[in-house]
Structures are given as C-alpha cells and as structure tokens.
C-alpha cells in the first residue's frame, strides 16, 4: 500500500483524519472486529443512521479482518420491518440524509436578509435541472407569498389597448414550456480581485436552471396592439415593495421572453416570484422580474435604480457600462470542486455545467494541469439554447497535485476567457459579469480548493 493510501485509510479509520467522518456513519476497525465476533448491541444506533460509507470508502484492510461488510452481514431494519404508508407526506421532501444541501448565505455579503442572496448548492446537484427548493434567491425588499386570485398583470404604454389580466386569463392563453438557466449578473462577483470564498456554492451559486411554463410576451404584446415602430423597449415592474424595474429590449421580448407561472412542473415558488415572473432567457437574473405586475411599452431605456446605481460595470477609466445584460458563455466544474476531498487515488468523473446567454453550448474542454493541456469533455443531452449543459470527463488521479479547469465554447464561437484576460480589459472592480475559467487546485492529500492561477 502506498503511503498516500495508508494516510487516507487512516483518516477513515481513525479520528485524526481531515476527510470528514460522516457522523456515526461507519465503523472503525475495532468495531468491525466486534461485529465479526457477533457483538451487535452497539450496532443498532449506528445502523439507524447508517450509510454504506465503509464499503464506499474501500476500507479493505478493515474488511479483511472481518467476514465481510456488516452492512451486508447484518440485515438492516428496513429489510426486516414494515415501512411507512403512502401519503405520509402529502408533499414529499428529500431524504433526511440530504439535509446538508441547502441554500446558504455568504457571511458579510449583504447586511440585511431581506436585501440579500442565498446561494444554490451546485456542488451536490446532478443533471441540468435545479430542484425548486434549492433555486438561488435574491430579494431587494423581502419575499411575499401573494394570493394568486388577487394578483393582476397590466400592459400599458405604447399600446392600442392597455389591458389587465388575471391569473385565470394568463393561464388560458397559449403557453410554452422551456428550460433556461438564470444567473445573477453578480455571480462570481466576489472573485474579481482575489479568491474570496471556498466552494462552488459561493463562487457560482447565484445560478439555477429550470423548466419554466408561461405565456410568450409576443402573444401578450400582440393582444394589446403594441406600437411596432416606436416600441423599442419594455419596462418590467414587480409588485413587491422594491417595485423592481428593469428595461428589456423589444427585440429580446419578441424573441423568447415569457411571463411564467410555473417552474419544474409546479407553480412558481414564492421566493421565485409566485404567482408570476418574467423569464428573459440569457439575460442576467435581475431582469427576470418577480411578482410581475406590469409591463410598459416605451421608446427609450428607463435607467431604473438597478440599471443606474447597480448592475453597472465599473471600468478602469472610471466609466460605468450600463445595460450590460447578457450572461456570456461560462462553465464550472462542480465535482470535484472547492471544499471537497477525493477519497483516494484512482478513477474520478469530472463533471460540471456550461451555459451561454447567446445560445447553445458547442463544446467544453477540461484541463487538469491549470490550462496547459486540454481534453474535450463529453456533453450530455439535451443541449438547449440558454440552458445548462452538463459535461463529464474521466480522470485517473495519481495522487499528485492538479489544477482542474473547464473552458466552454458556445455556438457563436465565443470561448470562455481566463481571469487575466477579463482583468486586462475590465480591471477588477466591475463586480458584474465575471465569466472567467474557474480553477480548482487538488493537493497531494486530495483536498480541493479555490485558487486563481496565472
């Protein structure tokens, strides 16, 4: 056995290790001997909270001392008793073993929770759909659970017939269901200057992807007879205290924007704008106005608070770029990623997400040597426009240090930039639109951490 593997094993079987001992999840060597000797009294508690960690960790030395894995040799309660009846939980929730994956705040990022952010735990998610309860949150004046029978949606401005719609009206109209990512313009914003946060949840977690259902804006705008000559801009306005307002270009609106009432097969969650929000594919999340109450058709941009005082990108010459809305092509490896530790040498599946506000993902390359050499990753289907694309690539970890990176290319041919390329053009004070290649450093003991490399 190599020195490294021995260390890893020790960390599993003894207390001192750095790799997390999932509480009460597995047995140490002494306990395994006891199992083999038939003493099982202490096992009940352990098995009540058991998981197959021993086997999963490949604790071969310990196994060799016993007749086999106690998780196999000793039948668990769930194999010997009666389980719970149907509809025990009228609305199901995740396994109790999954409670580590939660939306979380980054300490000190904002001062008050009602004008704050909670980040999506990307490090533990699969595929391309974000579970509704884990969708990231960003509110400016707190969230509400609005009575849908009283919610109204108005279209006015440069229209022949300014109209009011109830939710009943909207849900009668022709609908579309589309999968799109939503990313806050400030996602990865804490990382412009230096490494600031430890895990992908905090570097990239103002990001989610759902299947949204609702009515195309083109249908609604036609229904109101919008001015096709002068109507170049829309103002979208929320019904919450902040009355969130954002300018949308008419071109975007007619292309693929819609007012959504559903996400992932159920109605929107209150934190995500129940009962109505705007979906603006490819555009930063702040434009996806929640609790949407009004759209005004106009002939100039509106310079609202969140497009004049915030969501403006400060350049080195002191000029602020306004209306920088598109979320350019970006990707990140979610496993292995910062704050995680590999469980020993051998095969790993490097997996991550890629997305572009300008269309489909064409290709993702992965490097394990900090960007010197690259291999093309396998893209999972579906590959949809302005939607997450999941990528995978195999890797045999030999125990040495590595720096993992992913680099996405979208259908326009745009290549995700390096951090130093971004900084050369935009400096490091712009807060918004950091779509740099992310680096995860793996050290000799398998610990992964967030680094910036040159």
């Amino acid at each position: 056995m190599t020195e490294h593997n021995r260390k890893l094993l020790d960390s599993v079987t003894e207390k001192s290790g750095r790799i997390q001992r999932a509480p009460e999840n597995f047995l140490n060597a002494v306990q395994l001997v006891e199992v083999a000797a038939g003493r099982r009294d202490f096992l009940r508690a352990a098995f009540m909270s058991a998981a197959g960690a021993t086997a999963a960790l490949g604790n071969r030395a310990a196994l060799a001392e016993s007749q086999g894995d106690p998780n196999i040799l000793t039948l668990p309660e769930h194999s010997k008793g009666l389980g719970q009846p149907v509809a025990t939980r009228g609305y199901g929730s995740p396994s109790v073993w999954e409670k580590n994956l939660q939306r979380r705040e980054s300490p000190g990022l904002t001062r008050v929770g009602a004008a704050g952010v909670s980040f999506c735990p990307l490090q533990g998610l699969f595929g391309i759909i974000t579970p509704n309860g884990l969708h990231f949150e960003r509110h400016h004046q707190g969230w509400w659970d609005i009575d849908p029978t009283k919610h109204r949606f108005m279209i006015n401005g440069l229209v022949k017939n300014p109209k009011v719609y109830t939710m009943n009206d909207l849900m009668r109209l022709p609908s579309v269901s589309r999968m799109h990512f939503i990313e806050c313009g400030a996602n990865t914003g804490m990382e412009w200057g230096n490494v600031a946060v430890p895990t992908v949840q905090y570097t990239h977690g103002m990001l989610s992807c759902c299947e949204f259902t609702g009515v195309p804006l083109s249908v609604l705008l036609e229904d109101c007879g919008f001015d096709k000559v002068k109507g170049k801009y829309l103002l979208a306005e929320g019904a919450d205290g902040s009355g969130m307002t954002r300018t949308i270009s008419m071109e975007r609106a007619l292309d693929d924007c819609f007012v959504a009432y559903a996400m992932n097969g159920e109605m929107l969650r209150p934190e995500n704008g129940y009962p109505l929000r705007l979906v603006v594919p490819g555009i930063q999340g702040v434009s996806w106005v929640k609790w949407l109450r009004r759209i005004e058709v106009g002939d100039m941009p509106y310079a609202t608070k969140d497009e004049t005082l915030h969501y403006v990108d400060l350049m080195p010459d002191g000029m602020q770029r306004q209306y920088t809305s598109i979320q350019e092509c970006k990707s990140v490896i979610t496993t292995p990623s910062g704050g995680q530790a590999l469980l020993g040498r051998g095969f790993y599946n490097i997996t991550g997400l890629a997305w572009s506000g300008r269309g489909r993902i064409k290709r993702v390359d992965v490097s394990i040597d900090g960007g010197r050499n690259w291999r093309i990753a396998r893209l999972e289907t579906p590959i949809l426009s302005k939607c997450f694309t999941r990528f995978n690539i195999g890797w045999n970890w030999q125990g040495g240090p590595a720096v993992l990176q992913s680099r996405a290319v979208d259908e326009t041919g745009y290549v995700q930039p390096q951090l130093n390329q971004l900084r050369q053009v935009r400096g490091s004070r712009s807060i918004y639109h950091n779509n740099a290649i992310q680096s995860w450093q793996v050290n000799g003991s398998g610990e992964v951490s967030n680094v910036h490399v040159s």
């Binding site: 750095r18 300490p107 430890p198 310079a303 005082l309 770029r321 350019e328 590999l342 450093q441």
Partner: protein, 359 residues
C-alpha cells in the same frame, strides 16, 4: 393602423400623457375587431393605470408635478430615513452609503474622479448617479425600505433635494420641483460617467474579451496567484456539513482544523430554514436591519433590551405596543419606525423574543 382610426386616436392620446382613450373603446368596438384571444383580459381603466404607472424616465416623462424644499427634506430624512442611512447618508450599517466621494470639481466635469481611482474604498449612490430620475423614481417606489410607497409626491421631491444638499450639489434654501429638475440633472457630479454598452446588450454582439482554443502546451505560468487564506477556511461554516454524505468526494471538515470558534461560522451554517420562529420573524419584518443580539446597531441590542426590562412583568405588552407604534426617547433620540402590518401574534412573539435577549 389605418384600419382602426379610433384606436389610433386613443393611442395618440395616451402618448400625449392623457389617458382619455377608454371612452372610445366601447364594447361594441372591441367586438367589431375580433382579437385572436377573445374573452381574455380586459381594458385597463384610467384610474388603474394611474395607480400603477408610477415610473419616471430619464427624460422625466412620468414625473408628477410637485415641489419640496431641502429644509422639508431634512425633517423627512431625520424621521424616516436617518435610522438606516445615517444622519448624513453616510452609514453603511444597512446598505452602502448614499453620500460621500463627490467633489465640486466633479460637478464641473460631470464624471466623478474617485471612480477612476482603484484605491477609493466606497462607491456611494451620489458617486454613481447619472440620472436624477433614477433617484426620484426609486425613493418614490421603494423607500423607506420598511414602508415603501408611503411618501407623498412633495415629500419625495423634498427628500431628494435634501440628499442632493447632503452631497453639496444643492444649496440649503433650494426647492426642487418638476419645473427645475432638468437644471439639477445638469449639476449631477457623475452625469457623464455612463455609457450604454452594446456588446453586452445586443444578443448579436460578440463581447469584449476573447480567448483562444489552445489545446496542448498552452503558454501559462501555472502559478497560484490567489488562494483562500487559512484563517478564512472555516468562514463559510464547516464545509463537511455542506456536502453530501456519500459520493466520490466528501466535504472537508474545516471546523476540525481550526476549531469551532470562528464567529462567522454560526451565521454561515445557519441554514435558510422555513420554520417560522421568532428569529425568522425578526428577519421577515426587517428588525435585523436595526437590531442585533449583542451589539447596538440603530436600535438597542436584544441583550440590552433584555437586561433593561429584567423582572418587569408588564414589559412584554409595553414593548409590543412600542414596536407597533414606534417612537424614540427610551434609548436615545433616534426613533424606531411604526410597524402597522405585523399580526398581533407575530408582534407578541417578537416582544417576547426581544425580552429574552434574542434567543
């Protein structure tokens, strides 16, 4: 359009700012032009549009007539804004400062010099502000934060004028109105500090930063130029508790190495829970904007409140009433705002919770 003369007239009237088209839109008219989606939605009434169409554009379209003096604005500021934004708009307790960082020279150039300096610590509202309409519109729709849309039109003018006075942009005897707002726009220190950036607005743009598709032996230094300092390892809480128990990797036990003592840990590992307990209520009603458990923010700490009323049997009811109506005098001259919208049940829970020191 020529097919529907009535509608065109109606639309033009709306454009001129008067919404008189509704009378023209008789039911008979609507029926004579079958829309593709019949029976869905209805025409908005003028009163409805007036109630909701509150936005003010950069060209000040939508700005209601009115006026407010700096002096009046100061009074409003001190009673309704100061508690969160500080006496001079300088506070960063609740949000970034509103004032500071602008100079008389900036008012000449129209581009704030401090924005060009990478060493300047803050970006205040007045440093960034390019459109006065933005400030007016936002205060009108969203402030005070805990009672949005409660100011009258004249109050919005007044408090806007006062903020500009705090920034040395308007003199103390100024009265801001719809008549002179354009002249004031021309005085903003950063009025020339913004450009519409097409490459990130237009979907067909190709961006401003470009990388190439090098595949082998690419030129890199491979030097780590930044990593998380050891003391910050646990600043986001124990990462072992933020990863799945099973899988190819596990979360690193960051608490084990550096101990549980990191103060930030508690905050971070407190998950966003949905269980409504009093601390959630305090978040929900934004009490946390002004009160903390141990330290004085704008209002007293819960610990101090608990100590002050220790043994006072009537304290709970008294405090509930105080939270409801707000006011100053017990702890200082800064008033607590009124909280009209809290249910009695929540109010009681919050009073109890305050008395328990925020436990």
């Amino acid at each position: 359009m020529s097919m529907f003369p009535d509608r065109v007239r109606c639309y033009e009237a709306a454009m001129a700012g008067t919404i008189i088209c509704i009378g023209v839109m008789s039911a008979a008219f609507a029926q004579s032009i079958p829309l593709p989606y019949t029976g869905i939605g209805r025409t908005a009434t003028p009163a409805e549009i007036k109630a909701w169409d509150i936005d003010v554009r950069p060209d000040f379209k939508g700005l209601p007539p009115g006026a407010g003096s700096v002096a009046n604005g100061q009074q409003i500021w001190e009673t309704k804004c100061e508690s969160c934004h500080g006496t001079f708009g300088e506070s960063n307790e609740v949000f970034t400062p509103i004032t500071g960082g602008t100079t008389p020279e900036d008012r000449v150039t129209g581009h704030v010099e401090a924005l060009m300096r990478s060493d300047f610590p803050q970006r205040t509202t007045l440093m960034k502000l390019t459109q006065l309409s933005t400030l007016w519109d936002y205060i009108n729709r969203a402030m005070p934060w805990n009672a949005p849309k409660s100011l009258t039109v004249d109050e919005v003018y007044a408090v806007t004028a006062y903020i500009l006075n705090l920034g040395d942009i308007l003199p103390a005897d100024f009265v801001l109105s719809d008549k002179n707002i354009r002249e004031v726009q021309a005085m903003l220190p950063n009025r020339n500090g913004m450009l519409k950036f097409e490459p990130l607005w237009n979907i067909k743009g190709s961006g401003d930063v470009h990388n190439t598709l090098c595949m082998t032996d690419c030129k890199i230094d491979a030097k780590t130029i930044s990593s998380l300092p050891d003391f910050a390892r646990n600043a986001h809480g124990n990462l072992a508790e933020q990863n799945r128990l099973i899988g190819p990797v596990q979360g690193i036990n960051t608490a084990e190495v550096f101990g549980d003592a990191t103060p930030a840990k508690k905050a971070a590992t407190k998950v966003v829970s949905t269980a409504p307990d009093a601390s959630d209520l305090a978040k929900k009603y934004a009490c946390v904007a002004c009160h903390a458990t141990r330290s004085k923010l704008i209002g007293p700490s819960y610990k101090d409140i608990s100590a002050k009323y220790n043994g006072d049997v009537g304290a709970s009811a008294k405090l509930a009433a105080k939270i409801r109506i707000g006011g100053a005098g017990t702890w200082g001259t800064t008033p607590m705002p009124a909280h009209a919208a809290i249910s009695d049940e929540d109010l009681h829970a919050l009073a109890q919770w305050s008395l328990s020191g925020g436990q």
